[in-house]
Symmetry: C2
Subunit: 249 residues, 2 copies
């Protein structure tokens, strides 16, 4: 009994994600699937405009998947708060998606709508498309004076593996114009803070059409390597919240 | 032993915050205090510009407070990720502040600096000043056609009280111009999503100068009341993260 409880406690010591995604849009598709183990997975397509059109997909799991499968249909305006999630497809490639931590229905009266696109879907206008987080640069490429791309590692949250590594996603962060100059200054191994929006880039690969989720940076803030995050890691949320009367300032 | 472990597990079932703050700036003051119970509390003043100058204060607790007290000094560029925190002062008034969940040192080479202000402090240019979250409107005031103010309740995270209520902060969300029109449409009791920036408003009260932390909304998205957040609440983070090989899509 004690051993079981201790095991459950160890399991609940998860690492929080170091980034936050908030995206809204009108639903373009709702697709409920089940994994081999019977886990329900809901895929929800969202379309919106943040100046330019964007199309994104968010994923919901388990009870949340089945709950929302019944409530969403084409055109429903939805807001999702999510984190990055990375997995290996059956083709051996790594795919990045958005795992919804929370889904909400947007008030339809407060939302504008684009004309239908080629597939008959309308986009939410204006849509919310926000990525905020702290990544570590693993590769820095200054492609042109007005385009820099930093491959970055973000902690997606969850249990550490046996070697103590937190679950992570590797994502390209792109910056244009002035942001490109900021981004190009980041060194490999250096942590940086980024605020931006999400895009799915598409291109023709050798084996057909490819898709990849990327961050378009709008604001970048390079951080010092010895930034002292160490002390923060592994601390539970619990001790953050002293009784109110113990905090007179 | 079992009872003790069970108690610890119950204590760790905390509610997450429904908002996120990321602010950067140059340090204007570092003030380490101790509560009557001996809890270290560090108050850090930050100054930056997000188009206009802003001055904010973030608070760090316990080990984090003492760790950062030694490392910060006037002028250090810092980035804080934080949540709202509300407490009752000795004067009986309610005060809102920012509780840092994480502090990081910004690379000084990547940061611009304003000319010194009247107190000799310089501001970080450009500074990051981001508030993102989901509140519930408790009072809606459309003051003029170009100014609306919504008093909103945000969950600050932590343990529920005996009656099951999550710890919360009540904060004014202000919107100007077009955002005022969006904000004025929110009904009392309605949840809404807001992206904006933080300001400390100051004014002369009957008993002297008053300060209050407020959110200036830049983007507002009203949500449906029956938005289905219920299913999300109380779910641990643990079940969000299935083994990777159980997620083929």
């Amino acid at each position: 009994m004690v051993a079981k409880l201790e095991r459950r406690m160890a399991e609940t010591s998860v690492v929080p994600a170091d980034h936050h995604v908030a995206v809204s849009g009108r639903v373009t598709e709702v697709d409920l699937r089940y994994t081999q183990n019977g886990t329900p997975v809901l895929l929800v397509g969202l379309a919106g405009e943040d100046g330019r059109p964007y199309y994104l997909q968010v994923k919901a799991l388990r009870g949340r998947a089945e709950y929302w499968a019944d409530r969403l249909s084409k055109g429903t305006p939805v807001l999702a708060e999510a984190v990055l999630s990375q997995y290996k497809g059956q083709d051996g490639r790594t795919y990045t998606s958005l795992l919804a931590k929370r889904l909400e229905l947007v008030d339809p009266q407060a939302v504008g709508e684009s004309a239908p696109d080629a597939r008959g879907n309308t986009r939410e206008v204006p849509g919310l498309n926000l990525f905020v987080g702290r990544g570590v640069a693993v590769r820095v490429e200054s492609r042109t004076p007005t385009l820099a791309v930093v491959r970055a590692r973000f902690v997606t949250g969850g249990r550490r593996d046996e070697r103590g590594y937190a679950p992570a996603a590797f994502v390209d962060v792109k910056g244009f114009d002035e942001v490109a100059r900021e981004l190009a200054r980041v060194k490999e191994g250096q942590p940086f803070f980024v605020q931006g929006r999400l895009r799915v880039d598409t291109w023709e690969g050798k084996e057909g059409k490819r898709y990849e989720l990327r961050v378009e940076a709008l604001f970048v803030k390079p951080l010092l390597r010895e930034s002292g995050g160490v002390l923060e890691e592994g601390k539970g949320d619990l001790e953050e919240f002293p009784p109110e009367d113990d905090l007179p300032f």
